[in-house]
Each structure stands twice: as C-alpha cells, then as structure tokens.
C-alpha cells in the first residue's frame, strides 16, 4: 500500500532492544492533483515497554496521520510515505508483507479511534466485532473467540450478555468501551489512542480514562495517547511530544514539558488554558492560525505566530536543541545564549 520510500537509509538503523516502537524520520505527504499537503515531516518517536507518550497538538498537526502511519493505514492515495522507517516490536511496518502487516495490526499494535459513533460496524454485533479480532490473531475457534469477547466486554465494564447486541443499541461511552475492548482484545504491545475521549461527556471521559489506565496497568501496554487536552496528558502520560504542522517541535518527560517548557508554541498552548486558580487572569490565546499545510516554510512553521520570532526563523531549517537526554525543542532561538521564554519563569 505504501509507495516505495525514497530514503532507504533511515530504515536500516538497527532496532534498539526493548523499544516497542521506533519511528525514524517519518515524512508523510498527501498528494492530490492540485497540491501537496505535508502532513508529517521528519518525525522520530521512540517508545519503551510500558511507557505512555502523549502526543499533543492542534487539529491538523499530523497526530492522527502519525498514528495511522504506525499501523501503515495512511490512505493511499492520496497519502504517500516519503521517507522514514517504523518498527513495532522490531518489525518493519512499512515494508512488511501484507500478511505480516495484518498480523502486526491488532496483536502488536492496535488503535482506539476518535469517534466511537462511527468506529463500530453497524451491521455486526459488538461480540462479533471483538471476536473477529481474536479469531484473526489467536487462530482459535469461534466459541473461544466469543468467550474472549465476552470477557473483554466485562473487562471494560459492559455486561457480557450485551455481546449479542448491535452498536446502535449502545450509548456513546459504551461504544467507546467496545472500541477499547476491540483494541485490547489481543493484548497488543502498543496501543494508539487517538483522542479516545474527545467525543464523550466529561463524566464518561473520566470513566474511560480510568479504564484505560487500569487496563494499561494490567497488561503493561505501551501507549501513544493523542489529544489536545493537556489536562489528560498530565493525568496519564510519562512523556509528551508536541506536534505543530507535521513536526514534533518539543519532546520530553511530562515534568520537562510541563515545568520546563522550552518551545514558544508549547508555551502558547499552556497560556491558552484557563487558569482555574486565577479567574481574573486573561486568556492568552496564540494569535493567528495554523499555516496552510500545502505551503509550509522551509524554516519554523510557527514563526509567523511566534512572539519571539526573528526574520531568519522562517527561512532556516530548525535543528533540535537538546536540553537533556530526553528533552529537546525545535527552536533556533536557543542557539542564542540566554534565550528564555516567559513561561519558564512562572
């Protein structure tokens, strides 16, 4: 499904033992007749067993595309993986033969999608949909698969009798639980959760999050948690990567990102949150809009909105600036000694 990549070198990088996921220099474009959207540019992600990475960013930053690329599910056409390599549990996802790919999906890595309303097939019972996954991967009988499906339902807090019901008979939160049950049914080593709570009521959100945390504990699954809700990130993630216009512009541990914010965009994100302690404080939203993804500048895509931007920012490609082993930001301002952003002082 994926076009032959141009950059073969990236994929030859050896897999580091113990890493569940290694994404190297991934670049995904969407090419249509008229224009090319640079959805994901040159990102690298490494994830250890049991780790949860929060992937933050505005709508359209390329988070979902990244997740889909990990499953090798970027729709082709118009999607084109221009370069990069993805290894899940040491298996090269982008070059795996179709058979192997189907084995990787679901059992090594699975995904929880954003909208539970549309993620379930309306014409099959939820039990069928869970059991199908089990049957695909565990090569077991239908009865065993059903047994497993019912167990999974109970696990996510749905009575097992309801396995015989159809998606339309479930509420939104319940559906999301079913989606989670499907995703977890084969004990995947990596779970991609794409805004799993966005479509839900706040109370349901909390329940689903609790559930996911519990399950994560239970199965020791690694997870990429995609969201634009920094509160949730703070709640469950070990590490955080911030995406903007297809790039990871800052990445670090939860503590590093939240307390030692380096990138002006990340700063902007925090500043746009309402301050619960000080209700009189003015919101400070980031001015402007995301750039047109078809016309990204060579340099920093955030520059036009950046309060610290200098003229060269937009022209020169940004190099990652490491602040620790785990923390880097994609901001050339730090090449200037003494550059600091406001928030660090807070």
């Amino acid at each position: 499904m994926i076009e032959k990549r141009q950059d073969m070198n990236a994929s030859r990088a050896p897999a580091v033992e113990g890493n569940i996921l290694e994404v190297r220099d991934l670049t995904v474009h969407f090419v249509t007749e008229d224009e090319t959207v640079q959805a994901v540019s040159n990102i690298s992600i490494t994830l250890k067993k049991g780790e949860i990475l929060g992937l933050v960013g505005e709508t359209g930053a390329g988070k979902t595309t990244t997740a889909l690329a990990i499953l090798n599910l970027v729709p082709v056409p118009p999607g084109v993986v221009k370069s990069g390599s993805i290894r899940v549990c040491g298996k090269d996802v982008l070059n795996a033969p179709v058979r192997e790919l189907e084995q990787i999906r679901g059992s090594d890595v699975s995904m929880i999608f954003q909208d539970p309303m549309t993620s379930l097939n309306p014409v099959f019972t939820v039990g069928d949909q869970i059991a199908e996954s089990v049957m695909m991967h565990d090569k077991c009988s239908k009865a065993e698969a059903w047994e497993r499906a019912e167990e999974m339902l109970e696990l996510v807090g749905i009575p097992r009798e309801r396995a015989y019901e159809y998606p339309h008979q479930f509420s939104g939160g319940m559906k999301q639980r079913v989606v989670i049950a499907i995703a977890l049914s084969c004990n995947p080593k990596l779970l991609l959760a794409d805004e799993p709570t966005t479509a839900l009521d706040v109370t349901i959100q909390a329940q689903v999050l609790d559930l996911m945390c519990d399950l994560k504990e239970k199965f020791d699954t690694s997870m990429i948690f995609i969201t634009h809700d920094l509160g949730i990130i703070a709640e469950i993630c070990d590490r955080v990567a911030v995406m903007y216009a297809g790039r990871i512009i800052e990445e670090g541990t939860l503590e590093e990102i939240f307390n030692h914010t380096k990138h002006p965009y990340t700063e902007g994100l925090f500043n746009s949150l309402p301050n619960i302690e000080d209700r009189t404080a003015k919101l400070r939203p980031i001015p402007g809009l995301m750039p047109d993804p078809t016309k990204l500048p060579k340099g920093c895509a955030f520059a036009p909105r950046c309060p610290y931007a200098r003229p060269e920012c937009i022209e020169t490609p940004q190099e990652p600036k490491y602040f620790s082993d785990t923390h880097f930001a994609l901001c050339s301002a730090y090449s200037e000694p003494g550059f600091r952003i406001d928030r660090e002082e807070v």
Binding site: V98, F113, T118, L120, V123
Partner: protein
C-alpha cells in the same frame, strides 16, 4: 415481524382496488372494445347478445362494479379475446416472465456487484473509469435496440443463438436475458460502486483494518454488508419491473411472457386481461418489495429493530433511501 408482514399484505387491498380502477377505466374508455374487434364478422344478433353478456350495453360504471364484484369472489374475469380465465392466461405466461426476469437479474447481479466493488476499491483507476463509461453507455442504450442488434449479430450473422421464442431451453434465454440484463447491470454497477464508495470512507472499516482484518474481508464482509441496502433496493426494483414483463424485449424476441400478453391485450382492448394482469403484476411487485424490506432487516439490524416496533415508520425510513437511489440509478431503461 409477522405483524409487519400482515400489515403490508393488507396494504395490497387498496393498491389492488386503485390499480383496477385506473386501468379498468383507461382501458374501457379507450376507443373501441374487444367485442368489436373479434365481432368484425359476427352477426348483429350475436354481437348484441355478447354486448349484453359483458355489460357493454350498460355504462362503464356498471361494468366496473361487475368487475369488482367478481374480484371479491376471487375471479379476475374472463378475457373476451382468449375466452379464458384471466388468471389462467396469466399463469400460463408467468413462467417465461419469471425465467427471463430471474435470469437477467442473476446475470446482472453476478457481473455488476464484483465490478462495482472493484471500481469503488480502485477508485479513479482505469477499471473504475472504464466500467463507469460502460455502465453509462449501457444505461443509455434503448434495450429494444440492443436486442435487435444482438439478434442480428448472434442469430442472423453468426447463427449461434436462437432469435425468438422460448422453445430451446437455456439457449433461447441468452439473448433476451442479456438484453434485459445490460440495463440492469449498468444500474447495479453504478449503485454498487457509489454505495461502496460511501461505505469505504467510513471509520469502521479503518477500525477493522486496524485490528488486522485482511483487506479482502474488509471489503467483502465489512464494507459490502453495509453497502447492500441500496443494492438490494435496486435489485428489488429491477426485479419488480422485470416481473411486469420486459415489454419491449419480449416483443423483440417473441418471448411468451406477461408483458407481451398485456401489450397485445391493450391493442385488442381486452380490458379484463389488461386489468387482471396489471393487478397481478402490481401484486408481484409488492411481494418483491416486501421481500426486499424483509431482506433489509436481515442486512441492517437497525431496521430490524424498527420493524418490530411498527411497520409504518420503518417504511417511511426506507422511502427516501429508495428515492435517493432513484437519482443514482434508474434513469435509463423503461422496461
């Protein structure tokens, strides 16, 4: 469910009465009548006697009431032309029509659904474009013309296939079935494709893929099952139309079907035959429609739920769907 079926069957009664009213009056008030046609050389006394016997010496309302009275006694009347019970006449022609209808629908289904699926999954490809152009051409061809051309080619020039009638078993069926089937195929390919394209964009297919379901199964099970409703609707509509007799095709191939019986009866002002056969056709179409509705329930659990709560609402629900399909599909052929 069975309450729903009973309800639908009961709804046939107004349809039967309505159809009989419209057709009977149109036929009866048309210029000339069957007695005049067969009575060309009859003596005046005999003709007067027949006029009296069939009520032609009274008003059209009298004849209609007579007809309805017979209808309630389960009789569709006697054909003046054929001197035979209309039901018998119809049943004699029905096998040929059923044969042609099912053969052409079968041909169309077997060829068009895989083609439509392929066109949808390879959206924008050569297969897709070629099949859409072909479908459009198929839709734009008057089917009697296609029939004539096929007959000239395969019967006259090549002598491969029989050109008319229903006396040579399956061989006789081939040309008429292709003639009727081409239009159906075009419609069904288009419907399958657009319905599949709709479904292929759905999130749940991504869910299926994400859990490792093989692509083939994603398309043929997950997607197709969801795309079936419009396809079934079209198959049902076309089957229904074909049961009314592929009037023109039957004419081209001298096929002993219901359509030819009706059209010849119209030309002979054989009111009883026309009215009776059209009523039976309407009943057949309604039955096919009912089967289609029941199939909906098997395909889509959401509709199943609605049938058990009440028939009327669920019918409404499927109505606009079918109407929207009318847009997508059936602009071409008449018969």
């Amino acid at each position: 469910m069975h309450r729903y079926i009973i309800k639908r069957v009961l709804m046939l009664i107004p349809i039967i009465i309505g159809v009989s009213f419209i057709v009977f009056f149109m036929m009866d008030m048309a210029e000339g009548n069957a007695l005049d046609l067969i009575g060309l050389d009859f003596s005046e006394e005999k003709l007067a006697e027949l006029y009296h016997q069939y009520g032609y010496d009274r008003s059209v309302f009298y004849r209609y009431l007579l007809y309805i009275k017979n209808l309630f006694h389960g009789s569709l009347g006697t054909s003046i032309i054929y001197k035979k019970d209309v039901l018998d006449l119809y049943l004699q022609r029905l096998p040929a029509t059923l044969k042609l209808a099912s053969a052409s629908v079968l041909v169309a289904v077997v060829l068009s659904i895989p083609l439509g699926i392929r066109a949808a999954t390879h959206h924008g490809s050569l297969t897709d474009n070629a099949s859409m152009v072909l479908a459009l051409v198929g839709l734009s061809m008057p089917n009697y013309w296609l029939g004539l051309m096929l007959a000239v080619l395969f019967a006259q020039k090549l002598h491969w296939l029989p050109s008319s009638g229903d006396l040579n078993g399956i061989w006789s069926l081939i040309l008429p079935a292709i003639t009727v089937g081409t239009g159906l195929m075009a419609t069904m390919t288009r419907t399958t494709r657009s319905s599949m394209l709709d479904v292929i964009r759905q999130d749940y297919l991504r869910t299926a893929r994400a859990k490792g379901v093989p692509e083939k199964r994603v398309i043929n099970v997950h997607a197709l099952r969801n795309a079936l409703i419009p396809i079934i609707t079209v198959v049902g509509t076309e089957m229904g139309k074909a049961l009314g007799g592929a009037v023109v095709t039957e004419n081209v191939f001298a096929w002993p079907g219901v359509g030819r019986l009706i059209i010849e009866a119209v030309n002979q002002r054989d009111t009883a035959t026309v009215t009776g056969c059209i009523i039976l056709t309407a009943v057949m179409i309604s039955i096919v429609q009912l089967i289609v509705d029941i199939l909906y329930a098997f395909v889509d659990p959401r509709l199943r739920a609605e049938y058990s709560t009440g028939g009327q609402r669920s019918r409404r629900k499927t109505g606009p769907r079918a109407a929207a399909l009318g847009l997508a599909g059936k602009e071409g052929a008449v018969a």
